[in-house]
């Protein structure tokens, strides 16, 4: 009896080895290329897309780290692939490399300006639908072609695409760019009356020590969309305004001219708080944006006496004025494009759900004429290590 049991267990174990050795979907690392970044451009003809992929070869990454970057070789291979649509092109990559792309580690998707103008939705569906894709992947719009961005150099990261995502992750340091990942984009896009916005990226030219021109990139500006089509750009100043309204300013510098326009004082933002409040009176909608900011003086080129409270008050007022200007400029721009990038419509829906039913039909005509009041207060708390300098 016991013998029979032992034999039975033995047989089961042998059969189990067939089962546990792997499934249909086994993944061998040698058959894969990890795609770190995807650049999407319009194809040459009216149909089709042009993808530029930054593929990391797993074997190369090991040798690159052990060689301590003695050679200039990076573990990244930049490939351009054509296809009828995104997924077709992603799979066509295997025709060039003999490997299947692994997209779950992609950190950025860069869309070319032309592609964005023709409607971004057709390019992005696969990134939401395919279970391999992650919604943390950042989205950027290139000023120019995405291909150029993907081919640019960065010195501080082995993998350029990861360099881009590093930039977006520390956006709070300067608060001049807005990080939009796939999840945020789809949220803005799904909400019918809100217009999506996506950060921009452009090519800059650097000279290296040998005097050769190198292409680098800089994340800057914000692209704004109507439906899914790119309609305009916000500059750095306006992007800061957008961040103020969204309440996403982390840190950054407020540049104040005081006491004269040649002299300046720079305030480091430590914390800020924003409330956006709609008010409906006699059928007329007004918005009040209230920003409170706290910061330190970190840099100044003016010999004012900081121990004088009236001067501090004056600087604070100047700082508040800068914030108000930033906000007003972006509001005007958004109203000019009739693109509600701030989600004002959602605020109305939250506060006046009943009235919203009638308001939403006319939202396209209400938003550009909306009266927006901005009230900012800036507070200075500290002045660093010194009070004043001549």
């Amino acid at each position: 009896m016991i013998k029979r049991k032992i034999i039975l267990i033995f047989i089961i174990n042998i059969f189990a080895t067939f089962l546990i050795s792997g499934c249909w979907n086994k993944v061998e690392l040698e058959e894969k290329a990890i795609v770190a970044g995807v650049g999407i451009d319009k194809g040459d003809s009216s149909k089709g897309v042009l993808l530029t992929l930054q593929a990391v070869l797993p074997s190369a990454i090991q040798s690159a780290s052990s060689d301590s970057r003695s050679q200039s070789g990076t573990p990244v291979e930049i490939v351009t692939v054509r296809g009828l649509a995104i997924f077709d092109a992603l799979r066509n990559y295997s025709l060039l490399s003999g490997r299947k792309g692994l997209y779950s580690h992609a950190r950025v998707i860069v869309l070319g300006e032309e592609a964005a103008k023709s409607g971004i939705n057709q390019y992005l569906d696969v990134f939401f639908r395919d279970p391999e894709m992650r919604r943390r992947t950042f989205l950027l719009i290139a000023k120019g072609e995405a291909k150029d961005i993907m081919e640019a150099d960065v010195r501080f990261e082995n993998i350029p695409a990861y360099g881009i995502s590093d930039i977006l992750q520390v956006y709070k340091v300067a608060s001049k760019i807005v990080p939009v990942d796939l999840k945020r984009f789809i949220e803005l896009f799904e909400s019918k009356y809100t217009s999506p916005f996506v950060g921009g990226i452009e090519i800059i030219k650097n000279k290296d020590q040998n005097g050769n021109m190198r292409k680098g990139f800089k994340v800057t500006d914000t692209a704004i969309f109507k439906e899914d089509k790119l309609i305009g750009w916000l500059d750095e100043f306006e992007t800061r305004g957008l961040l103020w309204i969204l309440g996403e300013v982390g840190s950054g510098i407020i540049h104040v001219n005081y006491p004269t326009s040649e002299r300046f004082i720079e305030l480091e933002i430590l914390k800020s708080n924003t409330t956006v409040e709609p008010e409906l009176k006699n059928g007329k909608l007004t918005f009040t944006i209230d920003v409170t900011e706290e910061g330190n003086i970190t840099d100044m080129y003016s010999s004012v006496n900081l121990l004088d409270q009236t001067i501090i008050k004056a600087i604070e007022e100047k700082g508040a004025k800068v914030i108000e200007n930033e906000i007003m400029s972006v509001v005007k721009k958004a109203q000019k494009y009739n693109a509600d990038i701030f989600g004002f419509n959602e605020e109305v829906y939250r506060k006046y759900p009943k009235e919203w039913k009638t308001l939403k039909e006319n939202w396209a005509s209400i938003f550009p004429a909306l009266e927006v009041k901005v009230k900012a207060t800036a507070k200075i708390r500290r002045a660093g290590n010194i009070y004043r300098r001549r």
């Binding site: 499934c23 979907n25 279970p131 789809i186 829906y349 939250r350």
Partner: protein, 363 residues
């Protein structure tokens, strides 16, 4: 008695939670959001109140016949013919509901992780351990559940906590903007899940102190409601309007987790937890159908029925639906009326009849 083992009344609470929640957190949030938008959590509270009343009736009925299951006492209460019809319906219901659970499980694995693996493979892979567990009896299933239960609760709470920095609680406002009708409409499909504590009618004879079951079941339903409300709110405040398009919302949340640059990609953790917990759910329903059939045909043993039922389950699971869209669409349309009849209608009618009989017999 078919089942030799006894389980403690303390086990009832976690057993009910493990029977309802695995599939309830998986597909329900999307389903609700489509109907009730950001108010879907209110409809869970509504359905929990209904579930409390129904379970009270169901367990009171069970306690009138402490040593019998619903299959056995249906004949005593309703007479041979109607009783037999009710019992057979319940037997078939257990099989039908289990095919949906197994298919949901297989679709999740195939859809989100292993698209090339045949569906049949997942079905067989979950049914084989289920056969083993069911053949070993209720005690074994309960013991496995005791291990899985804390893991299940901890992973759900941990996932929601880790994603909390991406939450925007404004998204649940405004409350009841469309009136109360969408909320009530959204409560209807949930009846499928929240009346599943009905399975307890199959366990009452095997619980050591049956009188305490009622209180434990009530607590467990309230906990279920809390789990439902937090997961729903958690998903809505993270994804907002996108919730309506997500096929596996809770999994999407787990995928979105990123804390401090190193805690990310939690989906493999979630899925392993989820396989464990759905295994409990599948084996409980598998066990119920085996016991139910054995009692219906008055067999001495239920063990020889386990494998044939598993075979039927695996075939029905595959052939009933072509694709996942059909599954999620037809699931509610087919299962909700059936759930109302079996899990609400039968116990209520039998309870009333039994009460009336008692009154008349006394006179």
């Amino acid at each position: 008695m078919l089942e030799k083992g006894k389980i403690s009344y303390k086990q009832v609470m976690s057993l009910i939670i493990m029977v309802v929640s695995p599939t309830a957190i998986l597909y329900v949030p999307t389903m609700l959001y489509r109907i009730a938008k950001q108010d879907s959590w209110i409809s869970i509270i509504l359905v929990i109140i209904v579930a409390l009343i129904i379970s009270y009736i169901t367990i009171s009925l069970g306690l009138m016949f402490k040593d019998k299951t619903i299959i056995q006492y249906s004949e005593i209460i309703m007479g041979t013919v109607i009783g037999k019809i009710i019992a057979l319906t319940i037997c078939i219901f257990f099989i039908f509901i289990n095919t949906i659970i197994i298919r949901e499980f297989a679709e999740l694995l195939a859809g989100a992780f292993l698209p090339e693996t045949p569906l049949y493979f997942f079905v067989v892979l979950i049914l084989l351990p289920s056969v083993y567990a069911v053949r070993n009896g209720l005690e074994v299933i309960t013991r496995v559940k005791a291990i899985v239960f804390p893991i299940f609760i901890i992973t759900i709470i941990a996932t929601l906590l880790l994603v909390s920095k991406d939450m925007n609680f404004k998204k649940i406002l405004p409350i009841l903007s469309e009136g109360s009708m969408p909320v009530i409409n959204a409560a209807y499909p949930q009846i499928i899940w929240f009346t599943e504590p009905f399975v307890i009618t199959m366990f009452i004879p095997y619980i050591n102190i049956p009188e305490k079951v009622r209180q434990k079941a009530m607590i467990s339903i309230i906990i279920l409601g809390i789990i439902g409300v937090i997961t729903n709110i958690g998903i809505i405040v993270v994804f907002g309007e996108v919730t309506a398009d997500l096929i596996y919302p809770f999994l999407s949340i787990a995928r979105y987790v990123k804390v401090g640059g190193f805690i990310e990609r939690l989906d493999s953790l979630i899925i392993s937890m989820w396989i464990l917990s759905v295994f409990i759910k599948i084996s409980v329903f598998h066990y119920c159908s085996s016991i139910a059939f054995a009692q219906f045909f008055k067999f001495r043993d239920y063990r020889f029925l386990v494998m044939p039922i598993a075979t039927i389950l695996s075939i029905l699971t595959i052939i009933q639906w072509d694709n996942i869209m059909e599954l999620t669409e037809k699931m509610v349309a087919k299962l909700a009326p059936l759930s109302i009849i079996v899990q609400i209608g039968f116990p209520t009618i039998m309870f009333l009849v039994a009460k009336l009989r008692k009154v008349f017999i006394k006179q």
